[in-house]
Subunit: 510 residues, 2 copies
Amino acid sequence: MDQQHRRRGRAARRTEAPARVVDYRHLRHPFAPQKVLSDDGVAAIHEMALRLLEELGLRVLLPEARALYAAGGALVDEGTEMVRLGRDIVAAALTSAPRSIRMRAPNSDRDLTYEEGALIFSPAGGCPNATDALRGRRPGNLATYLETLKLHQSFDVIHKLGPSAEPQDVPAPLRHYAMMKGQLTLSDKPLFVYARGRAQVAESFEMIRLAMGLPEEDFAAGAWATTVINTNSPRQIDKPMAEGIIDFARAGQLSIITPFCLSGAMAPVTVEGALVLQHAECLAGITLAQLARPGAPVSYGGFSSNVDMKSGAPAFGTPTHIRMAIGTGQLARHVGLPWRSAAGSASNTADMQAAGENHMGLWANLMANATLTVHSAGWLEGGLTFGYEKFINDIEALQTIAELCAPLASTPDDLAWDALQDVAPGGHFFATQHTMDRFDRAFYAPLVADLSNHGTWEAAGARTSTERATQIWQQVLADYRPPEGAAERGERIAAFIARRSAEGGAPPAD
Amino acid sequence: MDQQHRRRGRAARRTEAPARVVDYRHLRHPFAPQKVLSDDGVAAIHEMALRLLEELGLRVLLPEARALYAAGGALVDEGTEMVRLGRDIVAAALTSAPRSIRMRAPNSDRDLTYEEGALIFSPAGGCPNATDALRGRRPGNLATYLETLKLHQSFDVIHKLGPSAEPQDVPAPLRHYAMMKGQLTLSDKPLFVYARGRAQVAESFEMIRLAMGLPEEDFAAGAWATTVINTNSPRQIDKPMAEGIIDFARAGQLSIITPFCLSGAMAPVTVEGALVLQHAECLAGITLAQLARPGAPVSYGGFSSNVDMKSGAPAFGTPTHIRMAIGTGQLARHVGLPWRSAAGSASNTADMQAAGENHMGLWANLMANATLTVHSAGWLEGGLTFGYEKFINDIEALQTIAELCAPLASTPDDLAWDALQDVAPGGHFFATQHTMDRFDRAFYAPLVADLSNHGTWEAAGARTSTERATQIWQQVLADYRPPEGAAERGERIAAFIARRSAEGGAPPAD
């Protein structure tokens, strides 16, 4: 779980050779970015997106956002709420948007550098339901939300928090208190804040400053909070989303612009056409952030797959999903910005389909060199449900990928000449000194995979990896301990939350 | 299933735009080969493998093979059966080994070109057991063997046959008749022949010539039969394997040299050390083939993962497996030869572990640009069992990958300007002409993935993808029809098999 520290613990007991330390907390992509579009194809999509912004424009529902666009030189029609953006305005935004963003965490060892080449995973988020084998499928509630935070905290390969399963039993005007308190007291990873109205965003920022004892200027100097901005594809930005972009930008916090362009539904049926729309919407969101505050942290993003054309149901881990991810990476690199992608699963349960879909999405994002892969663990039913057993199985995939990020040492010793000399033809290497010196750290130790033979496995109950995962998440929750500083952070926000709760909280976005 | 023809069938009903035809039968790698070793690291492993062959040598149990090596200039110690190979002999073999091999099939549309860049899948093979949800786990028998051949024949993304689940109820001296008859009459894909003794190999070749009506010289002009040669790692080639290399080479048939170097057991515990051993054994096998007949078709190969250091059990889809595959690809390209790799699963059942392991292996082989990925569908328990439900789920993965091999068209129409113009902000693309023109062929149609929502899925029985696969393989078997020419091929070998069976068959290797 805490792989880095576990390995170090082992290492302390030995002297023969340096320990194999894979720092799961800070990963860089191990593979070169791949292409599904020619360079000309990328240029054509970029060009058509600029034309879309210039000629067709977007509907922007927030008057303040339209005013910002207009002040930046855009053509705004207040009657239709349409905003048409010239390419010069977009180009200026792309110049001022940062290439590298310091993502801060309550524990500075969890800080992340959000930039090209970084490999960051966040868990399934925004799920209205949760499910596990013991308690079944249920609407998200506070107890579940807090449990999932403990799960997220317990694995180093989960790098930042997301909105997880939503605590719907907490009244909407008070929900952001519960979510910030949960994150600040159960985890020490970078925080997520929903952009659901200005009051809730402002209060969430205030809670972070209070919990961390941060003066205003220190808060603004790093991205302590991250939100995801979903445009209403096609070509629309609603009020809370526009407010979120503006408020996060002004506070120096990170908004991740993420059109959700399901090809065939909210976007054209072709990969190239869907990418035109996604790219245009991304550029419009990034431009708004830069108009609100030049240099504000903002991320390019996409989460695009296809629908099933018979039922309209979203599909994930499909060839279209993989291609959209890789194409999005090409476009993000074309404009020079770090970017977010997503994995995911349409499956209704933690089965082979769910595993296959998520692996396809994860590898797509490796091929695409996505900076941030959202929904990397636990997402079921196209995001409608957070699955405990799926989360555990997905962590195995993420840890396997994380292992690949540590380069092979390739020292002369690794070529193992002495061992090759020592072992006779047809013999084995179990007992060689070369093996003995390395046996306890040579290989990744699986979390849920069972390598026992069929007889042993059957005698132990013939449990599937889904069934084993039930035991694992229970153990992880039983072993969970709050991170350092959690109690203090909780104390520092307690009075604020009590006072504001007594006053009725803050309204969510309308 | 027969994706190409199904798509063509659909296409015949429409005129608006060319059909999306993904030719699952002939795939090329869609991604660039990746690296886990530096170029210097590759050179160091190659150099140390040559040193191993020169200084340590291999034990070769077949006198004829030792004689061939000696005639080629190797130093042979008949007392210890050790063969030491100079680098000049290896270099000569690498010069004469072909870069491109024509893999022939009873149906010429199934012929494959075995060369760098080709992407070829063969199914789980060599399994002593088989399992499915209806009949449980059982030792492989003829009925199962024939069923699995029908499954392999029914999906175009399975490009060649393998040894599948072995018909152990057929006496060993007659088993090769049953296996050749099964392959020649139930399939029209490239054939597999076990290298289990000279008589069985010679008779298998004879059955192919008879079935296809091939004169000797036409048979020798293409690789009609393929076998896999597993060295006895470390550093040993046993009699049947050496005989196989020699006999296949002399007949112009393809032997795939595949050390099975489980890191920590039969190979050093480090990736680099295991690659030294695997590379050396490969080169020795390739050299023997070229000494038997210069220019003979022979493939570089590897199937290397790690063991669990606690139990010694083999693991698959692990970081070590992925790295070994990618490193093997680097070494194969270093010597300029096409090569085989493998996916696989240690799981005891068709669960998330099984799916995860296979996806990791498949993507490793994509990263590695493996020419042939063996065991790509249906492998369970580290190869001890062929799983019907796993086979169906794995086919979904292979078909998803196959879809990625067809490049995006990226025509101006694909940018979808008209559709983007037509759809109002916040609208949808379902009904646009652009979508209507493409809706029935825009996306991959899943085989086993269920995209229905949770309520519908639950009402339909809440079946996992493993459970749905049970229904699918039954349907595939029910729909199965023998390929063209199958009956004629069967008639042409009937007399030979009857006569030889009456004579007691041919002895397997001792």
